[in-house]
């Protein structure tokens, strides 16, 4: 009996949190939206666990919590690095940065080359 009540309160809390998170995600400024969407994915994976779908929970944990977040953050960074006047602020600091060519360098190689340049 107590277990039923607890299970129900868990369900209710999970459902309300999901809808609330979705609402917040779609109504805040962009960075907040993305953080809230990552949280939404986490809570959704918990819901799959609750609904006895561990296969789906695995997929959601890998994609919803990891890959979608990285994708969205990358896109946001891209959006914000292009201001309205068209100049690219990242370019002005180029001398201090290591340009990684798409020629395939591992982090270690990149670092080593960095030192050589210094």
């Amino acid at each position: 009996m107590e277990k039923m009540i607890l299970l129900w309160s868990f369900d209710a809390l999970l459902g309300i949190t999901l809808v609330w998170l979705a609402w917040l995600t779609l109504s805040r400024d962009l960075f907040k939206s993305i953080v809230l969407f990552i949280t939404f994915g986490l809570v959704l994976a918990l819901t799959w666990v609750r609904l006895e779908a561990p296969d789906v929970a695995l997929a959601e944990a890998a994609i919803g919590a990891g890959i979608t977040g990285a994708l969205l953050l990358g896109a946001l960074a891209r959006l914000e690095s292009t201001p309205a006047d068209g100049s690219d602020p990242a370019r002005e600091k180029a001398s201090l940065e290591t340009v990684v060519p798409p020629g395939g360098t591992t982090p270690r190689q990149a670092q080593r080359r960095d030192r050589n340049v210094e």
């Binding site: 369900d11 459902g15 809808v19 779609l26 939404f40 959704l44 789906v56 919803g64 994708l71 896109a75």
Partner: protein, 101 residues
């Protein structure tokens, strides 16, 4: 009301919320998020209705949702690349009606 119906109704709520946001939000990134929320609502509805069995849940909707999740993420990636192309081509990421946000 059983657990399955509670979660199914939650899924419908998510779908409606996402659809509403998809229509009224003008920023493209937020439209992409709205589509993802809509998709999650559909997945939740499917998985919830799959638990209406006596023993183990129905595996067929689960398999469909797994493929659906992967398709959703690839579609999101494609949409984000399209958005970036639009930006690079001199367009804005926001549809023109809005002033600022």
């Amino acid at each position: 009301m059983t657990t399955a119906f509670f979660y199914a109704l939650t899924g419908i709520a998510l779908f409606i919320l996402g659809l509403y946001a998809l229509i009224i939000q003008l920023h493209l990134l937020r439209k992409i998020l709205a589509i993802n929320v809509m998709g999650s609502g559909v997945f939740l509805l499917l998985i919830a209705l799959a638990t209406r069995t006596q023993s183990t849940p129905d595996p067929v909707p689960q398999a469909m949702v797994i493929t659906g999740i992967v398709v959703a993420v690839s579609a999101t990636a494609l949409a984000l690349v399209l958005m970036r192309r639009l930006l690079d081509a001199g367009g804005k990421a926001k549809l023109p009606e809005e002033k600022t946000d």
